[in-house]
């Protein structure tokens, strides 16, 4: 099979996934298209190394390209990516409201699209990418571990923290709104 054919089979079916990941890493669709285009050029150059899971392979390239892009265009946003000390502070917090009718659950259920997107965009990069790979791309822990080059245990804790933060923020935003009304 020639490389052009391989590109059509390995890369083209996963463009929506690539674009979605890049959109959440860069923050905009326009920037995401630039990143994905660059990533696809890299993917084509390395097409012979495509593995048995082409989607995860492509997403890993998109991720790395996005980080290069971020380092150049948004230097402040990537500094803390792999700083585990920062994550340590964002400890998991479980509020004991078992006696109430879990008000957060109600607020989350009511959260609109814009509110959710703002909350995701506000997550630290390392949490955001784990969450997007899981909830929007639907990858398994094993695949996320491959794409992000981190152990599965770290995938687990980043996902748990990402969701924990989202729940807290949506809960707070909802309460703020209710108080103002």
């Amino acid at each position: 099979m020639d490389e052009r054919q391989l590109f059509a089979e390995v890369v083209m079916p996963h463009l929506d996934d690539a674009l979605s990941l890049a959109r959440w890493l860069t923050g905009s669709v326009t920037d995401a298209e630039d990143v994905v285009q660059e990533a696809c050029v890299r993917a084509y150059a390395a097409i012979a190394t495509a593995r048995s899971n082409p989607r995860a392979w492509l997403l890993a390239i998109v991720r790395n390209t996005a980080f290069t892009w971020l380092a150049k265009n948004r230097p402040k946003s990537v500094v803390v990516t792999d700083d585990d000390a920062v994550f340590e502070k964002a400890s998991l917090e479980m509020i004991d409201r078992s006696q109430e009718m879990t008000p957060e659950a109600v607020l989350i259920a009511k959260a609109d699209s814009e509110q959710l997107k703002r909350a995701i965009a506000g997550l630290p990069l390392a949490y955001r990418e784990a969450l997007v790979l899981r909830e929007i791309e639907g990858l398994s822990y094993q695949e996320i571990s491959t794409v992000m080059s981190i152990p599965i245990g770290t995938v687990m804790s980043r996902l748990a923290r990402a969701r924990n933060l989202l729940i807290q923020r949506i809960g707070m935003a909802g309460k703020g709104k209710a108080g103002a009304a």
Partner: protein
């Protein structure tokens, strides 16, 4: 560290709760987590919040869709043969340059032309043409607003729908407990004939299970046949009066799990 033991166990509970929600635990751990949830109202409330969050994300935050113009730009990357800058001048004909029919046709042609040992991805009973048609049907369904014509998580709805539509009754098994909820059914065309396609979901992934009639066929525990095409995995196996082919972009082990569970439920 100096964390009180209760805190450590709480954090561990939360990690396990997330993995439980994500269907990433083995059976023993599932039991353990369910026991913890049953005994701990706080955990139960947390699970409720996580489920709401997941539902909200699934319904409110959708995937990006690459525009046709963008697809063409990306497809054009491969139009430039490597190490041959002169060829960069070549441009694609105008109009839609990325088209599943062209892709499927090109793939079929490439498979025919490929000399022995260049690329072996197919070892299946379904013909190459059928594979291309099955993948094309799956891709077309993914591009549509919904990957099915009848939406139902109830196999008692989907099976009669096929019967009424095609006078064919493939087995429609319920795999919800195994994490593969039924999403619905649609009609695909394979080898010129309309055939049932049963649609299952796995997280955000869609699995199309195409049932091609083979009267008299039974599941004798034959090994799965494997194929890949356009980045999708296909697994095939014989069943009662039908040959089944599952196609999805799921990773191979998960699709194999689906096939194994489906066959075991169908022959029960």
């Amino acid at each position: 560290m100096n964390k009180p033991p209760a805190w450590t166990s709480r954090e561990e509970s939360l990690l396990l709760l997330n993995a439980y929600l994500d269907n990433e635990l083995d059976a023993a751990s599932v039991l353990d987590v369910e026991r913890r949830i049953g005994a701990d109202a706080t955990l139960k409330a947390e699970l409720g919040r996580l489920v709401e969050l997941r539902n909200a994300l699934a319904t409110q935050v959708s995937k990006e869709r690459a525009s046709d113009a963008f697809r063409q730009r990306i497809a054009a990357i491969a139009d430039v043969p490597k190490g041959s800058p002169a060829a960069a001048q070549r441009t694609r004909p105008s109009g839609r340059s990325f088209d599943w029919r062209q892709m499927a046709a090109a793939a079929a042609l490439a498979a025919v032309l490929a000399s022995a040992g260049t690329y072996v991805a197919l070892q299946q009973t379904a013909s190459t043409g059928e594979i291309a048609e099955i993948v094309a049907g799956h891709q077309r369904a993914l591009l549509a607003a919904a990957p099915f014509d009848v939406a139902s998580s109830d196999h008692h709805t989907v099976k009669p729908w096929f019967d009424g539509k095609l006078a064919l009754s493939p087995q429609v098994v319920d795999l919800n407990d195994a994490g593969f909820p039924l999403a619905g059914g649609r009609v695909d065309v394979v080898d010129g004939k309309p055939v049932p396609a049963i649609v299952y979901k796995r997280r955000q992934h869609v699995i199309s299970l195409i049932a091609v009639p083979h009267p008299g066929s039974t599941d004798g525990g034959e090994p799965l046949t494997h194929a890949t095409r356009d980045g999708y995995f296909l697994l095939g196996w014989p069943g009662r009066d039908f040959h089944y082919t599952a196609v999805s972009d799921l990773a191979q082990p998960e699709l194999e799990e689906f096939a194994a569970r489906w066959r075991s439920a169908a022959t029960r």
